[in-house]
């Protein structure tokens, strides 16, 4: 019994370990190319396969860049600052990688060769998948603290504290927006959530689903320190946040951890709101599910890169204010609206009432967003200027 259990487990986990790190390598390349193109430059295109020993190079659009970075990271000298807790300095990048990797297996990735009959692997689809997801991403905060504390450097401690404050205060809107979907589906299991969104009735098309998706996406950005919230590594203020003292492969691990966390959390966003694996032509070809799932994840990653190319950074207090004063009340209100809408839809099924409910919830949510926005943004508005002769 133990032999085929191991076989099943390997069948489920090894593809994860292959797909996502390669996607990580590709994403670094896509990110640099996309950012370059946004800024009207070409991006990395020099690393290539040397054709002949004398010269000539197949540059293959710089696809060699991730490999080059990887090799560089491997051979970079690994500096540990004196006076640093050697053990925790070494443990921090590993602890930052484990949760992101572990969380990947809760996503409803139905690989074609797994087609459902291995019940032992089904154990992965355990009951409290969503809650497990948030529990384990919570460990990431620990890794950040450990890195900040262990490198005994004023800047990295400051960066670590900022990162923790940001992660903790954005985890609550994140969880509350996930609660909305769990409440509607009635189960924490990622598979049931995916089943509830078969065909085209994804949750994002519901008003409360859209609001929850926006809050979840903003929370996800903050959780993985991306774009408008990349405060910990704000180079213009304190140098590079908690991974200042890391070089060589440990820095690569942090980098890998951050990207895999990005994949994991956008995977969850796709599962909760964008109907994991649901898409045209899924009934006929079953392996299309995994294809649709990955394209949606890539679209979300694309939006993250797009945001990174456009938006400046928020200040610490604005960041906190935004989480506690805007996202949190909005997500709580969203839960009420979702409950209200779902309850009425259950009561009577005709389309008329559901349309009315649909519009009513949109109005309420929009009014709430605008109201909260007005409260917070009383003093900030574009000004007019006068011209002297």
């Amino acid at each position: 019994m133990t032999l085929d259990l191991i076989k099943d487990i390997l069948l489920a986990t090894v593809p994860l370990l292959i797909i996502f790190p390669t996607m990580f390598a590709l994403t670094t390349w896509v990110e640099r190319k996309a950012l370059a193109r946004i800024q009207n430059r070409i991006g990395p295109n020099k690393v290539g396969v040397p054709l002949t020993p004398y010269g000539g190079k197949l540059s293959l659009f710089g696809l060699g860049q991730p490999a080059a970075d990887g090799i560089k990271m491997l051979f970079k000298e690994n500096i540990v600052p004196t006076g640093a807790d050697r053990l925790f300095h070494f443990l921090a990048p590993i602890l930052s990688l484990i949760p992101s990797m572990l969380v990947l297996c809760f996503l409803p990735l139905d690989f074609p060769w797994l087609n459902g009959e291995q019940n032992s692997v089904k154990a992965f689809m355990l009951d409290g998948a969503v809650i497990f997801f948030f529990a384990i991403t919570g460990l990431n905060t620990l890794a950040v603290f450990m890195a900040g504390w262990a490198s005994r450097n004023k800047y990295s401690l400051l960066g670590g504290m900022r990162a923790i404050a940001q992660m903790v205060s954005y985890e609550i809107p994140l969880v509350l927006s996930a609660v909305v979907v769990v409440m509607i589906v009635g189960s924490l299991n990622a598979d049931n959530i995916a089943k509830a969104q078969e065909g085209w009735n994804w949750f994002v098309f519901q008003p409360w689903g859209l609001a929850a998706f926006v809050i979840f996406f903003i929370g996800a950005l903050a959780e993985t320190n991306r774009s408008p919230f990349d405060l910990p590594e704000a180079e213009s203020e304190i140098i590079a946040g908690y991974f200042t003292e890391y070089s060589g492969f440990k820095f690569a691990l942090f980098f890998l951890g951050e990207y895999i966390a990005m994949f994991a959390i956008s995977g969850l966003a796709v599962t909760l709101f964008l109907g994991a694996g649901a898409g045209p032509g899924v009934e006929s070809l079953s392996w299309l599910k995994i294809f649709w799932f990955l394209t949606k994840v890539c679209i979300l990653i694309g939006v993250m890169i797009w945001l990174r190319g456009t938006l400046p950074r928020l200040r610490v207090d604005q960041l906190m204010g935004f989480a506690w004063k805007f996202l949190l009340p909005l997500s709580i209100l969203n839960i009420f609206v979702a409950g209200f809408a779902w309850h009425i839809k259950d009561a009577n099924k005709e389309t008329a009432t559901s349309v009315v409910v649909w519009i009513a919830s949109i109005i309420i949510l929009y009014a709430a967003a605008k109201g909260l926005d007005r409260v917070n943004r009383a003093k900030v508005k574009p000004r007019t200027y006068q011209y002297g002769e």
């Binding site: 070409i42 190319g309 935004f322």
Partner: protein, 270 residues
């Protein structure tokens, strides 16, 4: 301090337009690939770089016909040392703000094509690491002997002696000058031609004037003699001094060696 709002989406629309535009719109994607590669080891001395071929100047995307870099000495067609224009008057050495030119005048003069025998620079060094390519030497040179080259790949493994360009490295032919700066070269040669023509015309006019003056003088002397005999007969004491013939100093192209006068060449006419 809310974050969501229309301004952000407008900004994202702009970056999307740029992202798409960078593939099609030529005006957006202005970066071009820098092609020139030193395929073998870097030359030891800055002077060892290939002299005449223009292609080692790298493709014209980075070096246009207007860009100027380190100076070079011009010589007309033929053997460099025979037709070098520079006469080692050392004006550029004095005027150069960072003092990066070093000239040693030759002892004896040398016959140059056309005009009189002139000195020539025995050594003419420019320290490329000091020169800031400000083109003042080109302005102050009365003989159009020094102009700006546009070759900037002169890197060498070490930065002391090797970055010193000697006279032979600096000497470049005039048609090389035409090749890298066609507009400026033709304008400069036209100006030299005009000045030469103006000088001839003036010389001719001067000779004509001298001849006329000579005849006038001879005629006036003849009359004066005639008058004298007449007056001698009447008033022997009145002194008569004919105005000394005014010597029109032909503007010799060779300025007196005294360093104070710096004839300033006007900028080349447009």
């Amino acid at each position: 301090m809310s974050v969501l709002g229309s301004g952000i989406f407008k900004g994202m629309a702009v970056t999307l337009k740029n992202f798409v535009g960078s593939y099609f719109d030529k005006e957006r994607l202005t970066t071009n690939e820098y092609a020139w590669q030193a395929n073998d080891k870097l030359p030891e001395r800055a002077g060892d770089y290939p002299k005449e071929e223009a292609e080692q100047l790298s493709d014209t995307t980075t070096v246009t016909q207007y860009s100027r870099n380190f100076p070079m000495l011009l010589h007309d067609a033929g053997e460099p040392m025979d037709t070098v224009r520079c006469v080692a008057c050392q004006i550029c050495e004095r005027e150069c703000p960072p003092q990066c030119i070093y000239i040693e005048k030759s002892t004896e003069k040398k016959e140059r094509s056309g005009n009189k025998a002139q000195f020539y620079p025995a050594t003419f060094d420019i320290d490329v690491s000091v020169c800031m390519s400000c083109q003042i030497c080109v302005e102050v040179c009365p003989f159009d002997a020094i102009v700006m080259n546009s070759q900037f790949e002169l890197s060498t493994p070490s930065r002391f002696g090797e970055l010193l360009l000697r006279r032979d490295d600096l000497l470049k032919s005039n048609d090389y000058y035409y090749k890298i700066h066609p507009e400026e070269a033709s304008a400069r040669d036209k100006r030299i031609a005009d000045e030469k023509a103006a000088k001839e015309a003036k010389k001719k006019a001067a000779e004509a004037a001298k001849k006329k003056a000579a005849e006038a003088k001879s005629k006036s002397e003849a009359e004066a003699k005639a008058k004298e005999e007449a007056e001698a007969a009447s008033k022997p004491t009145e002194p008569s001094d004919t105005p000394p013939a005014e010597s029109t100093a032909t503007p010799s192209t060779e300025p007196p060696a005294t360093p104070t006068t710096e004839p300033e060449k006007e900028g080349s006419a447009e």
